[in-house]
């Protein structure tokens, strides 16, 4: 009898285990734990997190029957998770992205739906060059949902003054400044080489200043030998010139942007310049308010290169982040998501929240509202940069398909380390086209 009980227990345990496993495999079609047909969203922590939280809370308070369940992720974790989720039909209803190559992939595979209807009101307010990122062949698949993130050259004015250095307006002046700053025993430019992606900003700006936006467009179009364009070879040559001149110090490979170590170097006066996306400004405001308020934190556009074909008012960075609507969501959830987009995204409250933390949404006609802010000079600078830029280049790693982007990051880091020369870089990258 005893044996029998034991066996029955065993069988039940097996059955429960099997059932649990099956449930674990089959479930989870609607992440976020909302009711099965409800809409869900995955959003990112940090940056403009508060704005997103407020906007979802608003929506859920006004629409208790159609709540959107939100899960929060760190940047890198999100990027790795979302693609698997989209590919396996488990995507949240609202898909957060950087547009570019990923969005093109989603659209091509029918993972996201056409949201041209119902988003026109929002798009009418968005700066056209930014809105264009969410459109493929005239169809809107994604709309901007947060601030615009151009890459800005920030500097510590106190450090420049101490070393007697002027803000450089050309590449040659930057080289001279680097030499003078090294004399003064500071790192001329803080570069988060461990994270690799901040190195992209250098090759992007240099290529644009030297050859204009057409050079990278050729890469995007997959033209044979596009990476061997003289402008790219010159850009990587200049990068190695800067590295050899000690412009990035001798330990940039240990500096990590995810921990804001590059920003910290400038805040503490250990480094003079840092080339970073405008998303770092809230960090400056938060962790060194004295520096910002005393005018010690300077900001300028990337220097021009003598004889370069590119317009020095061109910018690179992320035009914005974007919401798309998943094709695998139920029709009701898709409706909820679209309505959320048209009522909540970049609403007046959202714009206020973004301006208050020192970031600028990509909307037209914000001049008056910016003038009302506490520190309008910086916001006006960034807003003007975005509004007046003839070309706003999306970060290359986002614009390119994933495999090419990863190869680019790998090889670019080797250029900065001096492990490969500009010709090797161009040849290896040409092979990925």
């Amino acid at each position: 009898m005893k044996l029998r009980t034991a066996r029955r227990t065993g069988a039940i345990a097996t059955a429960v285990a099997v059932a649990a496993t099956l449930a674990a495999c089959g479930g989870g079609n609607q992440p976020g734990g909302a009711s099965s047909d409800g809409a869900s969203a995955w959003a990112l922590t940090g940056g403009s997190e508060d704005m997103f939280r407020a906007s979802f809370e608003d929506w859920n308070a006004e629409n208790p029957e159609r709540e959107i369940a939100v899960d929060w992720f760190a940047n890198d974790a999100y990027k790795e998770k979302i693609r698997t989720a989209v590919g396996s039909g488990n995507a949240p209803t609202l898909v957060y992205s950087w547009a570019g190559g990923t969005l093109a992939d989603y659209a091509e595979n029918g993972n996201v739906v056409d949201i041209s209807d119902g988003t026109q009101d929002l798009l009418d307010r968005v700066i056209p060059s930014v809105a264009a990122n969410g459109q493929i062949d005239g169809t809107t698949y994604a709309v901007p949902n947060t601030q615009s993130q151009p890459v800005v050259l920030y500097y510590n004015q106190e450090v420049l003054d101490a070393a007697g250095v002027e803000v450089p307006t050309t590449y040659d002046e930057l080289l001279d400044a680097a030499a003078a700053l090294q004399e003064a025993d500071v790192i001329p430019v803080a570069l988060a080489g461990q994270s690799v992606w901040p190195e992209l900003m250098w090759i992007q700006y240099l290529t644009d200043r030297i050859g204009g936006p057409e050079v990278f467009q050729a890469v995007l179009d997959g033209e044979e030998g596009a990476w061997s364009d003289p402008a790219i070879v010159e850009a990587t040559t200049r990068i190695q010139e800067l590295v050899d001149a000690g412009a990035f110090g001798d330990a940039f490979g240990s500096v990590n942007a995810d921990q804001n170590a590059d920003i910290a170097l400038v805040q503490t006066g250990k480094a003079a310049f840092v080339l970073q996306g405008s998303w770092v400004y809230p960090n400056f405001l938060e962790s060194s308010p004295e520096l910002v308020e005393s005018g010690g934190l300077g900001y300028t556009t990337f220097p021009a290169v003598d004889g370069g074909a590119g317009d020095p008012t061109n910018i690179v960075g992320n035009p914005s982040n974007f919401w798309s609507v998943s094709a695998s969501a139920s029709p009701e959830a898709q409706e909820t998501a679209k309505e959320y987009i048209s009522t909540q995204v970049l609403s007046d409250e959202a714009v206020d929240e973004l301006l208050a933390i020192g970031t600028v949404p990509p909307l037209t006609g914000l001049e008056d509202r910016i003038a009302e802010q506490e520190n309008p000079e910086y916001l006006e600078f960034v807003y003007g940069m975005v509004r007046d830029a003839p070309h706003f280049q999306l970060s290359w790693d986002q614009a390119l398909p994933a495999d090419q982007a990863q190869a680019l990051l790998d090889n670019l880091s080797q250029v900065f380390l001096g492990q490969i020369d500009p010709q090797q870089f161009s040849e290896t990258m040409d092979a990925t086209l």
């Binding site: 029955r8 059955a15 059932a19 590919g87 595979n109 330990a251 490979g253």
Partner: protein, 311 residues
């Protein structure tokens, strides 16, 4: 969902319970059921999936398409993957050379009866309690040349570009892995030493053997199987070690610490080249199995003969 499934399966299971008992002795085969079900679902089925995927081309979206041997040729000739294979060998040999002697000595020390031994053993054990991610982040912060220990203590030699210099990064990785896992292996050796009968040492003492001789003639030979177990764990472990390196260096600088498991992950989840990543995964599984089998065979541990005959 769960409740109906349970009853269904239980009903099906009943005839088995009434079936004639083939082997009266020993526990019921059913007891292996849960483990087999989990192993099958979470190890065997995915493994087959990976093997199939290694012959397909898939970017994570859309439908996988057949690619034949294309992925295999591409992977085996890729300089990045070849470099990763070499680095994996360096890491495996390096971590073994660092960990094995230190763990053996620490284990022998911890098994002794010295003063403060217990306190020190607890301290040595601490690194094992920390998660790999926390260890990696702590070391990144401590070794930061600008804000880390080196800068704080004014120690020039410590303020090196540890993580950013391709020549230093691999040594740092080996050191940190050793730091995290030496406690585990010391523990194995400690229990191994405790198993050695005291009578052997007494006999050796009567024969006039000194401490060093005792160590090499009794302790080391008696620990043979502990060494096999510990080395298998170290070698197979470092073949597949991922999390600490991923957080510490991310495979960088350049490709200086991009060992095979990282190469697999970056290829699969950064480049979204699932076919190529699957090839690397299959390679890892095969090499891991072969190495642990070979270690077992070569050392004779599979026979597990007693080493204490005549004691």
């Amino acid at each position: 969902m769960t409740a109906p499934a349970t009853t269904d399966v239980t009903r099906e299971a009943r005839p088995a319970r009434r079936a004639p008992r083939g082997r009266a002795a020993g526990p019921s085969l059913w007891m292996a059921g849960p483990a087999l079900a989990f192993f099958g679902l979470f190890a065997f089925v995915p493994l087959i999936g990976v093997v199939v995927l290694s012959f397909m081309s898939w970017d994570g979206l859309g439908t996988p398409t057949w690619a034949g041997l294309d992925n295999w040729g591409r992977t085996l000739t890729d300089p990045v993957t070849q470099n990763a294979m070499w680095l994996t060998v360096v890491l495996t040999v390096g971590t073994w050379l660092f960990q094995a002697p230190v763990s053996l000595l620490l284990g022998v020390f911890m098994a002794g009866r010295q003063r403060y031994r217990a306190v020190l053993s607890v301290l040595f054990f601490l690194p094992l309690l920390f998660s790999a991610a926390a260890v990696a982040i702590a070391f990144t912060a401590l070794l930061d040349p600008n804000f880390g220990l080196g800068a704080a203590l004014g120690a020039e030699w410590l303020a090196q570009d540890w993580i950013g210099d391709p020549d230093l990064a691999m040594w740092l990785v080996i050191f940190v892995i050793g730091w995290s896992f030496i406690p585990l292996h010391s523990l194995l050796y400690q229990s191994g030493v405790r198993q050695i009968p005291a009578s052997m040492y007494e006999a050796a003492l009567l024969d006039g053997a000194g401490r060093v001789q005792q160590f090499f003639r009794i302790t080391v030979p008696q620990l043979k199987y502990t060494m096999v177990t510990s080395s298998t764990l170290m070698i197979v472990g470092s073949l597949t070690y991922f999390d600490l390196i991923f957080v510490l260096t991310g495979g960088g600088p350049g490709n200086a610490t991009r060992v095979l498991p990282l190469d697999m992950y970056l290829t699969g989840f950064r480049s979204y080249d699932m076919g190529k990543a699957s090839v690397i995964a299959v390679l890892l599984v095969v090499v891991g199995l072969l190495v642990s089998l070979a270690l077992n065979r070569l050392s004779g541990a599979n026979r597990m003969e007693s080493q204490q005959e005549g004691v």
